[in-house]
Symmetry: C2
Subunit: 202 residues, 2 copies
């Protein structure tokens, strides 16, 4: 069976985003948060080819509503995500939401909106991916929910060497509860330290 | 001039201790917290010789009151720390406190109680260490205070692969505010991942 992977970029103090994301500022209203966290993949891509390839190596994705849109309530059909007309996933993406919406085909990526909960979304992603990996694409709330449910086989944390101190932001591991993982890798670079953890075998 | 180092063992969610430390439970009232965090150095010492040697490589230490004693208020002279009659520091240790106390000589370690604040304690430690390293011995509150003050040259974080989820515990980087560091090392083992960061050059 395919494995479930998850990549998340966080600060030294565990933040993946600041508070109050909007359409204009997906990483919250503390100016520069998104840039500081993701400079490693945009400005230093050549130093991190394997890790970047890993993020996009899945054949299906599960995504939280907040990762697709900062809005709440029924969908604004004009909103088509943050990624332009050619999203980088190039695979089926199952977006968890309480509000139904027709599938959205954008380039090689199809966003399918799932209103039946995490298990249904994960099942559909697994069926779509076959033997290939399924990735939990974020946001952090969904990542934490999946960690709590014990369904992440490989967690790849990209730690940016900055203490962000953005209270009210979203933090990896918040609400996960006690969880033991198995370390499986660590690579440091000037821009970011890549840490790999695996689900502990029962 | 000597460098200022700091070693701290933390969980994946950044906790160095749980809430409500006591004489009997220095790492707080969530049973097992201290054991989970420090098993790597006590039960697997052979896998971590360099890191353990590094912790004790300083020629002087600065320590917070809470690391020497969980009590508050004036000293109980009967309390002589958690380390038995031969503390592992084997060097001068300057304990920051609001309450004066005569120096305490225990084996090769002398605890000197400093009531004039962090700068005074650090100055005395630097004078004692000469060209050799000074270490910030903890607890976490003092570590965070020193990070905020920008006086830690090398921060060595030992990350245990467990989400502890001990709300009210003490967390590395709490209250430090925005801080950029330079990664300088990463080594993973089954028990713990060792990360080294340096103070960013001005």
């Amino acid at each position: 069976m395919s494995i479930v992977t998850c990549d998340l970029t966080v600060s030294l103090d565990g933040y993946a985003a600041g508070p109050n994301p909007t359409r204009e500022r997906p990483f919250g209203d503390v100016v520069g948060t998104g840039e500081v966290l993701h400079s490693w993949m945009f400005d230093h891509a050549a130093n991190h080819e394997d890790e970047i390839a890993g993020i996009l190596d899945a054949d299906a994705y599960v995504m939280g509503r907040g990762m697709f849109s900062p809005d709440t309530g029924p969908w604004d059909p004009a909103w088509r995500g943050w990624w332009g007309e050619e999203p980088p996933y190039r695979a089926p993406v199952f977006v968890l939401t309480h509000h139904a919406r027709e599938p959205l085909e954008m380039g090689e990526t199809t966003f399918t909106f799932v209103t039946d909960g995490l298990v249904e979304a994960m099942t559909r992603a697994r069926l779509a991916a076959g033997e290939r990996p399924v990735s939990v694409a974020g946001g952090t709330d969904l990542v934490n929910q999946c960690l709590r449910a014990g369904i992440v086989d490989e967690l790849r944390i990209h730690v940016v060497p900055v203490v962000l101190a953005v209270p009210g932001g979203t933090r990896l591991f918040d609400g996960v509860g006690r969880l033991d993982l198995d370390p499986a890798g660590a690579r440091w670079t000037p821009e970011v330290t890549h840490l790999t953890y695996r689900r502990r075998a029962d």
